[in-house]
Symmetry: C2
Subunit: 227 residues, 2 copies
């Protein structure tokens, strides 16, 4: 069991990856210091603590443990602190399936979503289709994995809920900016209900960014790279 | 503890990702049936068992457990069968560091390596530089993680040894086809020695493809996509 002293998280409010770590820490009731990475040139702390990727989140534990990559951090939190909610499924096969879909989200689905918001105009139609196809796959997966429960993780949120749920803010931004309905009650009824249940959770709602604020941030970034 | 009955692996001999699973199964002394995915149109079994990515390896356990993605499979093997060698480090921080570097290899380093072999001519110089920079990062990581032991995992091979070691065949192919020395005794002495130790392991040597055979395969693929 790891000490809960001296836990810090370096992050930036619009990041879905930072949100994952915040939810995981809330589920474990771990107190920590949040250090906001300033917008603009990367901080010395970021460059020093994550020299390979130079990306947030970066997680600090004790005097010398530094971890980057959101899913690696969530695994670490769950494995280091056995108390509180269990994040990864206890069955090894369920765990493998959760890890498979989390990797799918990060490697395939989210890059398509980002492409729709920030990518070139000509790729947006194909990007929206890829996002929708991904949601259909996830709808099927949700039915199989949740087995009639509220969440992928059962009656409580778990690893895959966190992995997908952290993208909900950016999914809403994409719907708004692309003027498209991606997650709706008819096409993806399971995920539609799941979304409502997920954002209502105590360990989630305080970390879910307001869509309007996130849209404003996205538009600012788009403007910045326009010229 | 999972049953060791009815274990199957669908793979293709030149794949580094399939090699990872073979090494993990050898470390656990699990008997399994290897099903060779034919070269050419994807088999029905592949399309049916991994509809999301349509990629090998696919791992089958018992009557109904199907898992894709090599690192997910290696995690599953280690967590399901506690006997035999331990693949992931027991310390949660060491485990996080091993997972971090394994993700780096798959997300950043190997795509650069592939780009040198199969990518357009104009990207090859930058690709070779990226591969070399990655090896320098890995050399530093090896010093820190191995703490003077033979392997990343200590005196026995572990998760990160398997993750990196499975790429050694393709690293040699890249050196040959690009006529470049990437892993050498002066620039990366730790990794250079590690390479020799890794391929000498009983659980590795029978799965390491011959470089000449792999070069022939690479050249065949390059020819195929030329016209």
């Amino acid at each position: 069991m790891g000490s809960t002293e001296n836990v810090k998280l370096l992050g930036f409010w619009p990041s879905p990856f930072v949100m994952r770590v915040k939810i995981a820490l809330s589920l474990k009731s771990i107190n920590y210091e949040f250090i906001e990475e300033p917008f603009g040139p990367k901080s010395e702390l970021l460059l020093k603590s994550n020299p390979v990727h130079k990306k947030i989140p970066v997680f600090f534990h004790g005097d010398d443990k530094i971890i980057a990559e959101s899913l690696v951090i969530v695994n670490y939190i769950d494995e280091t602190w056995a108390f509180g909610a269990q994040i990864l499924p206890s069955d090894t096969y369920d765990r493998a399936i959760a890890r498979f879909w989390a990797a799918y989200l990060d490697d395939k689905w989210y890059p398509s979503l980002q492409g729709v918001v920030f990518g070139p105009e000509e790729g947006k139609k194909a990007g929206l289709e890829a996002v929708s196809e991904g949601l259909s796959l996830l709808e099927d997966a949700f039915k199989k994995i949740s087995k009639g429960n509220k969440f992928f993780g059962g009656e409580k949120i778990g690893y895959l809920d966190i992995a997908l749920g952290s993208y909900l803010g950016w999914l809403k931004v994409t719907e708004k900016l692309a003027n498209a309905k991606l997650l709706d009650e008819e096409k993806t009824p399971g995920l539609f209900k799941w979304t409502g249940d997920f954002v209502a959770e105590d360990d989630v709602k305080e970390f879910m960014p307001e869509t309007e604020k996130l849209v404003g941030f996205a538009q600012m970034i788009i403007e910045l790279f326009k010229n």
